[in-house]
Amino acid sequence: MEGVFPCCPECIGVDGRAGMWNWKQASGSRREGCRYWKQAFLPSGFGGNTVHVLGTEFPPLGRPRREGCRYWNRRIAMEEYLRVLLDQIHCRKAREMVGKEMKNHILDQMEANQQAGMEREQALEEAVRDMGDPVEAGMALNKIHRFRTDWRMLALVGLVSVINILVHIGIGGRDASLGEAYGLRHSLEAMAGFGIMLAVYRMDYNYIGKYAKQTAVFFFLAAALVSFAGTEINGARAWISLGVLGTVAVADLAYLYIPVYGALLYRYRGEGYRGVGKCILWMSFPLCVLLMNRFSTAVCLFFILAAMLSVAVGKDWFRVNRKAALAALWTVFGALPLSGVVVLAISGNYYATYKTERIRAFLGQESSYQDYGRRMAAEYWKSSRLLGGSGREITDLVGVNNDYLLNYVANYYGIAIMLLIGLLLFAVAARVIHVSFSQKNPLGMIMGCGCGLFLEMVTVIAVLHCLGLIPSARLFLPFFSADVGGLLVAYVMAGIVLSVYRYQSVVVPGQV
């Protein structure tokens, strides 16, 4: 049957469901005694130049007419119309969407023509003629349905990456303990990150939507595995050892759950309170991060997921009483999980002593924890000049290439440069949020929204941390910190948002 097109319209039954081109559907509706059935138009020798319409391969034009087939011209007219129109559209995914709509229009018009008294074949022919010029229509549609590149965002991330490389070359030159090849190694990591971002940007983000549950389960399993079998450093089991390649902080990769959670929210749309309940259950992922003893990561992640769920409820995705649902959610979000974590931390001796003491200090309780890092960060910040180095060497802050990177920049290059980096990062986050909220595809909107919230949140925390306004904690500055996990998260998220922008005009919601 491969390549065989039944050519009798009565068998095919052009009725709006089984178009003439859909021989698979047509093959189930053979009219008894039909002499056209299984007559091959295209037995062999017509390779090349085929076109796919709605998942069906059309043979090339110009093949010989089967002798005596009185339907040949009628069929070819419609095939040809669609082929010519869709040939003008370069994006394959858009062709599918447009082809479906055009096919339905032809069938509607054909039905109307039949009701006006025309024979089926004539009705179809007239319907195709009424469609107008396929080349003109196809070219106009091609201008609309094409891949798009957010050059502004690409330029912003590119600029951030270049500054990042320059800053780390500077750090490598000053701090001999980082090793001679530090600057080069970090540059390669940043360039690899940029390359990964471009690769993600080329991928269709809708696949995350399609495999949301599977991906989420993978995250849960991976987090559980790391929390039991990972390498423990400073009381946190959040690293994995890769032998000669060193130790990688995988806990930061937990942030990649954010776009996956967006896809889960999209999946449960319209399911009412049951859907909200399921989404709350999927919000339990930060608990797995807590198992790794990464308190700050778990808290950040929890609030971002909560904000995403609130956006989904606010946009009426679940068809529930929005005000009541939001009020209930935030009462629960604000009270129960945090108090539970704090109680666990303080009274349950679950965390390392210094962490428990740090949480006590953060809550204003009596604590033996001396936040040396915070005090020093504030001191270095105060002694920094607006432009140029302060003349003071940073000797007592651990992690100037990571947690205290902004302090390093302010101290050696000036506050203006530090502010420039901060502003650039806010600009990237703002662009991400703008692109996300201007999406008509809700999946792209919620995934991008989560990524934007994340970038915004970690940048704000890093700036406050640099100013010594919040207690020192494990964090990273997106696109900047010399933390492979953090670097990867930032670039992957930027790639996802670029992919959302790229596919906005060629994919309808739910299409993969």
């Binding site: 469901r17 129109l85 709509e101 055009m102 509607d108 109307a112 010029d133 106009a140 349905h145």
Partner: protein, 104 residues
Amino acid sequence: MDKTLVSGSMAMLLLKLLSEGDKYGYEMIETLRRRSENVFELKAGTLYPLLHSMEEKKWLDSYEKEVAGKVRKYYSITREGSKALKAKEGEWREYSRAVLNVLA
């Protein structure tokens, strides 16, 4: 009728139709033809690029709905679309009044 007279205002006419309720492509062509007493006979090849470009501008939203065994793509007007319609209607009334004044 001269086609250039129609083409400039077609977006406004489609927005007007959709402001009265959601419609699919063929339905819009038929409604437009009927209400204009066969003056506006829009080709599908003209209609769909226009609808898709208005969707890009976020003047329209679309969704699929099954009616009588057929899955059709329906278009609905958005808040931005309603604003655009109001603006275009104002421009059109001003323009037609000016033309009528000159012809009078």
